[in-house]
Symmetry: C2
Subunit: 233 residues, 2 copies
């Protein structure tokens, strides 16, 4: 008997923010692939790995795959292609394969490269949804990201100051993911736009989570990898 | 000892799509308020109630509050104000109060009325995040709602055909919540816009979930209350 390859969303970082369904799929998996980077002294650096270990996943099921720290997407694609092939081999042996993704596996997740590879080869796949970081941010700060008739635009880190200003002037709430990629543009827009509240978040879902809505503090920040913003009219 | 009033997000409908943290908060609560409507023959109609019962919550903790079916927001506000007052009374007695919300409690959730009432009166509150319906829709259809550099705009049911067309022409992915409120506008735009994929969803998270990307089928549909769309360039 063969089982679909299951993409399991881990949520934003707090292990308890995984769903019951996601946890069950992980517990039943023979093999769990998860993204990592190689840190100093041969250390495996992985937020997904930290979540999986906190959830008590057995180490013999855990299979990290190492993504290049540089922005070379082509190298990363080779890594994803390898994981797709390894997943297919295990799937053909009747093994239950899980591919873990931080946040939600269908919302700005690089796991789509593996997913696309598998579906092109007609391997059955299934996805278990998870909480994106921007949703968890709202809960952390005690704000409603959007309510009633408020429209929302989410930018993935490539937004320009002009584009962001136009969105805010239309009265839309804006969420900016991958904030480190557009730090300069966001700061330019923040200096030039009055009357909005700029909610800044780092490491949402972790013990080290940081939140401020003080523009002075935000101005002095170097935006790290795990940062995002919610800007409200 | 007093405990913060906890807003617990239930997720999109499948009881197993609640988080571990959300389930734990519900299990520890002395009282769980949840939204309902009065159905025929004195029946309590409540998606939140169905989830809570499926999760095994004891009936003596469950407290439905009844929202008017009509769009009278003022009447609904009176109901929310009552729940805020009842929550405060229980909180002062040292009881653990949970307020359950479908989807995510901070994402187009009417529970913000209760939240705002409590915070204005300086009652400590906390929120546990959940999966919004549009995120679960992506998993259901096996699509990535957004990936890489794709921006996303979410409309809450008040979008016009012109506004939607402009968003799609900018190359943005669009999500439309509360689809029943803008059925005519969406259908007009769908007829006039070529080259996009229109993903239509009903009752995501339930057994009765329905999905199609066939514009002919969508055209013939009367959009129900629990429906939404993901439109991709």
């Amino acid at each position: 008997m063969k089982h679909p390859v299951t993409f399991v969303s881990l949520g934003p970082g707090d292990p308890e923010l995984i769903t019951l369904k996601g946890l069950k799929a992980l517990q039943q998996a023979d093999c769990i692939f998860y993204p990592a980077t190689a840190g100093p002294n041969h250390r495996v650096v992985s937020r997904a790995g930290d979540i999986l270990k906190a959830l008590g996943m057995p180490s013999d099921a855990l299979q990290p795959f190492f993504l290049p720290m540089s922005k070379g997407r082509e190298t990363a694609k080779l890594v994803y292609a390898q994981i797709a092939l390894r997943s297919i081999a295990l799937h053909e042996e009747g093994k239950k394969v899980a591919i873990a993704a931080e946040g939600d596996a269908g919302f700005y997740s690089s796991s789509h490269y593996i997913y696309d590879d598998l579906t092109e080869r007609r391997i059955p796949v299934t996805t278990i949804a998870g909480i994106p970081a921007f949703i968890a941010s709202g809960a952390l700060a005690g704000i409603h990201v959007v309510k009633q008739e408020e429209p929302l635009t989410v930018f993935p880190g490539t937004v320009s100051a002009e584009e962001l200003r136009a969105t805010l002037q239309e009265g839309k709430t804006a969420v900016i993911m991958k904030l480190s990629q557009c730090e300069a543009a966001v700061k330019v827009c923040m200096r030039q736009t009055a009357g909005h509240v700029w909610h800044y978040f780092e490491n949402v879902g972790l013990e080290s989570a940081f939140y401020t809505a003080d523009c002075g503090v935000i101005e002095g920040k170097r935006f790290p990898y795990f940062s995002l913003m919610v800007i409200k009219p």
